[in-house]
Symmetry: C2
Amino acid sequence: MSLIEELISEFKKLPGVGEKTAQRFVYSILKRPGQDVLRLAGRIQEVVETVRPCNICGMFTESEMCEICTSTNRDSSLICVVEEAHEVEAIERSSGYSGLYHVLGGRLSPLDGVGPDELNMVSLLERINNASHAIQEVVVATNSSVEGEATAVYLEAVIRPLGPKVTRLARGIPVGGDLEYVDHSTIVEALVGRKEM
Amino acid sequence: MSLIEELISEFKKLPGVGEKTAQRFVYSILKRPGQDVLRLAGRIQEVVETVRPCNICGMFTESEMCEICTSTNRDSSLICVVEEAHEVEAIERSSGYSGLYHVLGGRLSPLDGVGPDELNMVSLLERINNASHAIQEVVVATNSSVEGEATAVYLEAVIRPLGPKVTRLARGIPVGGDLEYVDHSTIVEALVGRKEM
């Protein structure tokens, strides 16, 4: 296999990248100045060598603890539990949440051999037990897939006995969403969760 | 800017990759074993440092000359002229051509300041003049854009006086193409170029 073919096969490991896209990447790289492209290689190497999970919440960070866990401006009585680290970014971009996070690193999925021990659950329970300020509320923000829901139910069962209130993100019509294009189950959830104006 | 953000902005320089896709790439990289990802960084570096244009045809190669130019199984009386190196791959995959290639590195585009001197044209003319076996035919396979056509016309004007026949790839209905979905100009070209059965 030539170097070019090897690079194509490495690019194909990225999500959503097939043969054609990987080829386009390689040819675009070959047309760019070498120095510029070496920066991409260097950054990949730096990220692999430097970025690691935060000791407390499991979010990606370049030091022992992430910026959110070390910040003094966050509400430390609130923990939002997500499946993957990139979901933290999505919630942060919304600017609607000022508490802390906990990254599970996946969801319960017995068929794939993922039980509570494969996820960062023990560290979550320890965190709730050993918190210097009591945790008032745990917001479960796992996805609304079958596995995400099962994970939420499990979390509720193990966290509530420790004290904190356990809440789940609201389900309903997305902002700007057109009723015509919203699926049935979302409409049912929106009706069940309707609020007085 | 954090390392992760820097890597996202490097990925965004790849063709067709926006913010979201670049983020997905980075998060997928962070989920994979470090050794595996370092291979991507290593390959990029190797390609940048090793791959260079072939001294004869301008195709990418890891040595002085590319495999096609050094092969003894190719018809050396035939040169196919393409705009970019990846177009060589496309023609090679078709297995319908056994001659040599010449990569222009672009197309004539006076508005963008690309004249004959900015392309590998002098080397093509020298190649035709100095060939040990006479070049019988030059197949012009530039794209059918306005600039590609202008480049073809220019090549015809400078190459024909040197001796070789100058041909252009046939235009017509693509194989498996449905007449209903083929554009007007392609149908006109197919009619003009119709052949007796």
